[in-house]
Symmetry: D2
Subunit: 512 residues, 4 copies
């Protein structure tokens, strides 16, 4: 059952989470102005899945059930799935900035892989439970928040070594019917307007920290859960041309001895498999981030081009303006290409699903993490100083100043001042407001810091293939006899993954 | 007479400018909450000049009068003056973010040079008038706003070719007793809490646009002047740990047939000399910007180090954190060094004053213009995601959440959560708020866009010296006879400027 | 018929081109020491196509003939073809540095598209001729040189406006049986050891320069052709661990009234279609360059890792060394990803062939063009100063020094000095020799300068889609009704190209 | 006594060092073609000191003796000394590429500081000995090689822990009349054509490695010394337009039980003071490197401008060419500015000499270390592909091709082909030859790797001042009372160094 955004809003009214925002308690999440932009943004993932023109990207057939589900809840089975997910994320984010719901996708896919591993090793029943939960989420078309980032406390100490144990979520008690969890998830995107939370560790754990290796699902209004949230976007601010409509709240989520029945527990102490869940999630999520930030890039490219036009400039004639626009495009499509490559060189998992290539996913996320700042710079460069010096919207209808301002604040003669100011505020909103800062920081740190990505790249790159290549070249002179080939037959040289022996029809998603 | 910040505040109350902010009229600038951070920031330039420990940097002896004046109003006579001005700007900006008043300095110095040129060529009396005005400003220790950036209209057309003539300020009428000016200055920093405005063109003009080549001074409450302003900083926002105290307003300043008596007119139609005024101002101002943004850099470096500490990390052990801090330092001191070099290789002007070296000043400004974004990135990198996800300050005293939050949001055990949150909000304010965007954009576009600086660098670099060097090396083999030396005796090789023949005592500002 | 490298060598002995190198005439190209590295490098494309393990990548079925041909001579029909070509180029270049022969591929594919256009427009017979020529080249497995880059003369003037007309190749005479061409191609890679040349313009032409719009094929020993070549690589230099074996010659090729029969003329004055040939070639070629330089990157990554090991360092423990290696990987796989994405979003041509996506191909080439210098920097960074200070190979067997040197020039105890020195020389050869400079400059300028790529990116990017997106968001508030969607149904959002409506089997080249 | 280059050559003939190059023994260094470019380059430092127009920069008055000495041998006493040394190094390097002799300066200055420290602590007589040696060097105007970079062996082990002890130079025996040293210095620039060597450690030492903490001077022909050298530059290569004339040899210098009398021993086991010698040397040397590479930059800027002209392009009209030239200038003058700032903020040493500011010196060297690669890129960018594809010089007089080539290889009509080719080869030599690789690697690793500089920057930056600033701003609101000022009176804010209380005459080296 695919919901519309209206049905999604209605469904939120049936839950009673405990939420505080700006020091006050929230009555109805769906109706509180502080969260309207967040509900709108998530709503896009619902409405777009119902539009005929987007169904190919926004929905998919779930292999385990045969049902058509929202792609944000789907377990990938092919490179095409990954590429379509990537495109779908870009699509919803170029509309909403950040639509949150691919986080759900990324967690479900990560757990799909890790639970299978645990069952194979320990004879547990996690995978079956997870599949059941997956169908529940898909059938009800739920929005599920990713409760991962712990408060962490002292960054130089492991979870179990913290003086304040609650800085990480952990199992406090194991009962016959379930577990009791406790602790703090410090940054949960979209938390207030979710239906449920998926709890997962934010780092790999050692044996000593096994109690911290817990994966489970809980409704947002389970007893013991409190959220302390920030507003979503910049609700109610007249100058917020974009983030007045769309934005994301983040919340600190406090788990104060929350009971989770076994059927919603997906790992409980299997620290190695929890590590797999976390790193697999990270790979899926970094791949999604690439699509998300490319959508954000589309907004900057479009707005930049409109601002240039309103200023009376023409990139074909003004070389430095064209240079900046091309640089912006280069950045956006450059990291997006890594998402495409990660889809193409997908890795088949023992669970039957596929994961994007780790190296390409991490490189793409690493590129966007640092280059989001350059994107802001370039948008400012092509727009000019007006974006931060324009009088506020309250001035637009001040009878003392309105006429004079609109006479002199236009740029090109045939584009009215109001239109120029609107684009200018749109760019200010995206690149020079609190919301701009938020996009920067989540790009940099969301899904792991750059250092985490660098370690993943190093850990996964087939260095041995490259050293073998050079050693062979040094030993042997001109290749004459064809022996000692470093590449295995049927392996691509890019990342060492396998190339299919036989290519049937050519179904790469392209015009071909 | 040097004023204190309190006297400055009081002096503002004696003026009656017409100002609108957020759609409402301003009664008293000094008392309006919207401008408190701006008045505070400018106030720093007053108070610091009175402190014994800062007098060497913050005051100077004006050669034309022999009086001690605020350095922000001084005409430079030596490399040391330039270096001290640079240090002084850094000093007031590391306290206030942006203290505005070096703009006054930069305009006065630019006009000092240009009026001399005009008088020498046309036998006019501009220079004498300017000196008289200078003494008036110094004696009364005034804050004078730089009314330069015109609204500009269609960027592809020159001033005289605009369909709406008022997008540039111009002379509308020449009378026996003065001139009448009209038009719009779109971005005037600190406008509401200035005593006077210095009006200057923001670009070089052709003969056809001579009416736009006008430099003059007017009180802020001269008849016909209207300001439409933005608030200074983020007044009244509890989360604004820095810009709640210090910030700058910018205003659109509308000149609706404003009369200026001849004694306050410093150029009126001399388009070539007005071009000199503009480019000389630009050089002085870019030099000042270097000091200003280095002060901003000091704030980021200090806050970043505190955040790292609160997170429990140690740059000596965590290489990637040290790497980021060193990168931040490299950027800040790297562009600051250009300001120092521009001071050392100062250029003596026929008017008897000195100007910083053009190439080094422009390079320094160009470096900071683009690297301000990297500075934000690095501050975010070392701080972590908390800076944009922390619950708002209203939550700090919410009885339902206060205890839990402060228990889990601390980092290192010995640093209380409140302290960590305070630094976190400080960094958010400087790097992820509207104010952060403002600092970025003024760094990028303030004092001219990067393209303008590149053109100045190209126009002023001694390319001929370098081609002569290579041609000589190609023609002649090993230098044996000592003839055809491209460098003149006594000229530095860096930028071709002269080295003094005799060095007396060694008075470079250093520990030596 | 697929040749072996031995047969290729033999085939060269049957031709009699007029070639000068280092001031002397060449007797037999296949046997002249100056060209051995070039013949070796091209030979790799022959031998690898015969190896079972490489046949999937190195050969393909030509649609027009049904025959299996070397992939370097194949007309692409699908995204998979493009991806396999990309992989194949990487494969041969990680072995040989630069194997030249993809140039042939790129020209044939460009002409395949352009001749179809010309025929459709003018009713000419170029396409049929080209197909016939294509089969001739494929059936004889020829090496065909790309004679494109004209000498150009004064860069600020168009071909027809040059004082010396011969700086561009042009049609001097049109006869009943063919044309006579004249002029200079200044940089033809691998020229001496090719079988034929394909002549094409290196820029778009105007109507006035129609005589310069000529595409045709000639044997290398056609009367009137003279080549003035540089040696291939660094033949005979003991220190040249890589480029003593593999390298490419470039030659100035002088066409002194060379006759070309009509059956080898593919365009002759159709300046617009010649422009298409040039830009299509450029797209194919930039795509190939991505694969080529990724292969070069593989060599640096492998050699860097070996050098680190020999120095006794461990990237897992020494963070700054790991950082540099990850940066190197990020660059190489980052631009490679653009090649993959360009393959996936292939563009179907009216001629029935496919072309890589223009935007991604140009971004990938642009990235490698500038980052090749960073690749050198990183290789030096991880290797240390030894790579340029090591005593020369003649010292290796000097009885006076050999023992002492090998005792003290080892790094890690278990790796002998000779092994360390060998890797060190390998890196010097690739990054600090004439050959290193050659790789840099061809990366930067080969296939067009960065400015040319930027213009192509700007010309081809779907800016209108992005401005439509922003305009819609500004006009309409929350998307409620689903009208005015900027994206066409079935179009990817990345670059605006079409997504197939139905996906059959999932045949993306991956492990799936 | 200042020598001329001719006298320097003659003086070399009076020494008999044991040298091997390319596997053969060297008879007379001054006459061996392999070292001519090196002797020429060092010769520049002699001849320029005799030219009246360069005496201000190239000579100085030695305070301890009152004599006029070559600046390359002078102990700095003031900021002006440091600035003039910087300019002098740029001057000799823009002529010679690298003139080696500032290494002597840097070692003497480092030892001047460290020996004073040791004497103060241990009552030794090192400083007096050093001064005596200094006068010997100055009076005889010697060239003294810096024997610092040990062979190092396994990089992960300290000197004393190496299995092969001779990978570092160390004291093997202490005798009544002197010491015996043994071991290997792996990279000694200019070694063959020096008069003496100064031996110093290349790293800080622990107490356990005290025998490795040795500083002393030896003649190049002392018994037991063997050099295994590379040729200086590219002697005898016709295409080497620059490095055929000027270049530097590097040598491995083997010390096989070399006796050093006590009067030439400057530290022998004082490991902490030896550490000071090494880091002080490093600061002086990094400061010198800034001047050296700026001189190299002058060559690229000049040659680039000539090439652009020869190609018929005009940076005023072709924006992307101007952009690249400005980028090149920005890099060169950007790091040079750090050298200027390091001179201005000089640090007075207890020994009475001055040292450049550590932070600015390290930043400048760090900037040039990585940006040398960008300098190559930009030089290639503005020059075009010809620099690596031009036929070799032997072709210039080949009667079969000479006429044709010179007709078509010209660019702009009024500049003959020969002139264009000459500049092209000059650029190839500097940026795409072995010599180019050498300049890159010594820029990157010479004087310590980038990681070493980053650690020095971190170790020396006044972080505490910056955290105090932010803590004060957080605690106290608007500065009202003037207490708790973080800056000490009379200290510059840039790097925390002291500002002189009284400025007498204004003697900064500038036009003022």
């Amino acid at each position: 059952m695919l919901m519309s955004s209206e049905e999604y809003r209605e469904s939120l009214r049936r839950l009673s989470p405990r939420i505080f925002v700006d020091g006050r308690a929230v009555e109805s999440v769906a109706d509180d102005p502080a969260f309207v932009p967040g509900v709108n943004a998530v709503g896009i993932t619902y409405d777009f899945a119902l539009r005929p023109e987007h169904q190919m990207l926004m929905t998919a057939r779930q292999g385990t059930s045969g049902k058509t589900v929202n792609r944000m809840l789907h377990i990938n089975e092919s490179s095409t799935d990954l590429l379509y997910k990537l495109e779908a994320v870009r699509l919803v984010c170029q509309e909403s900035g950040c639509a949150q719901r691919y986080v759900t996708h990324d967690m479900l896919n990560g757990l799909y892989q890790a639970t299978k591993l645990a069952d194979d090793r320990f004879g547990t029943e996690y995978h079956g439970r997870l599949v059941e939960y997956l169908h529940h989420v898909q059938d009800n078309d739920l929005a599920v928040g990713g409760a991962m980032t712990d408060a962490k406390g002292d960054r130089s100490k492991r979870p179990g070594a913290q003086s304040q144990r609650d800085v990480y979520v952990h199992i406090r008690e194991r009962r016959r019917d379930g577990i009791v969890i406790r602790g703090t998830k410090a940054i949960v995107t979209g938390a207030p307007y979710m239906h449920e939370f998926l709890v997962m560790p934010c780092r790999t754990m050692t044996k000593e920290d096994a109690d911290f290796a817990v994966c489970c699902a809980v409704p947002v209004d389970a007893p013991g859960i409190t959220m302390v949230a920030r507003p979503a976007g910049r609700p109610g601010e007249a100058a917020a041309k974009f983030s007045g409509k769309y934005g994301q709240s983040t919340a600190v989520v406090l788990f104060d001895d929350v009971f989770v029945p076994w059927e919603r527990v997906f790992l409980a102490g299997e620290h190695e498999e929890a590590g797999v869940a976390t790193t697999s999630y990270a790979t899926h999520h970094r791949h999604s981030c690439i699509g998300a930030r490319a959508g954000f890039g589309d907004l900057l490219i479009g707005a930049g081009a409109l601002m240039i036009e309103a200023n009376g400039l023409d990139p074909s004639r003004h070389a430095h303006i064209r240079e900046a626009m091309v640089e912006l495009i280069k950045i956006v499509e450059g990291f997006y290409a890594c998402g495409v490559a990660a889809s193409v060189y997908a890795l088949k998992d023992p669970a039957g699903s596929v994961m994007p290539d780790v190296v390409f996913s991490n490189i793409g996320k690493l590129l966007l993490a640092t280059q989001i700042y350059d994107m802001h710079r370039l948008a400012h460069y092509v727009s000019g100083g007006l974006v931060v010096s324009l009088p506020g919207p309250d001035e637009d209808h001040n009878p003392h100043t309105e006429a004079s301002l609109s006479a002199v604040l236009a740029g090109r003669e045939d584009i009215p001042a109001t239109q120029r100011l609107e684009v200018s505020r749109f760019i200010e909103d995206l690149t020079a407001s609190y919301q701009a800062g938020w996009y920067s920081v989540i790009s940099l740190h969301g899904g792991g810091s750059p250092e985490a990505m660098k370690r993943e790249i190093w850990r996964n790159y087939p260095i041995a293939d490259k050293t073998a290549l050079v050693e062979r070249l040094l030993d042997r002179g001109v290749l004459a006899e064809g022996r000692r080939v470093s590449k295995q037959p049927g392996r691509c040289c890019a990342t060492g993954c396998e190339v299919p022996e036989v290519i049937g029809t050519d179904a790469v998603p392209s015009r071909v």
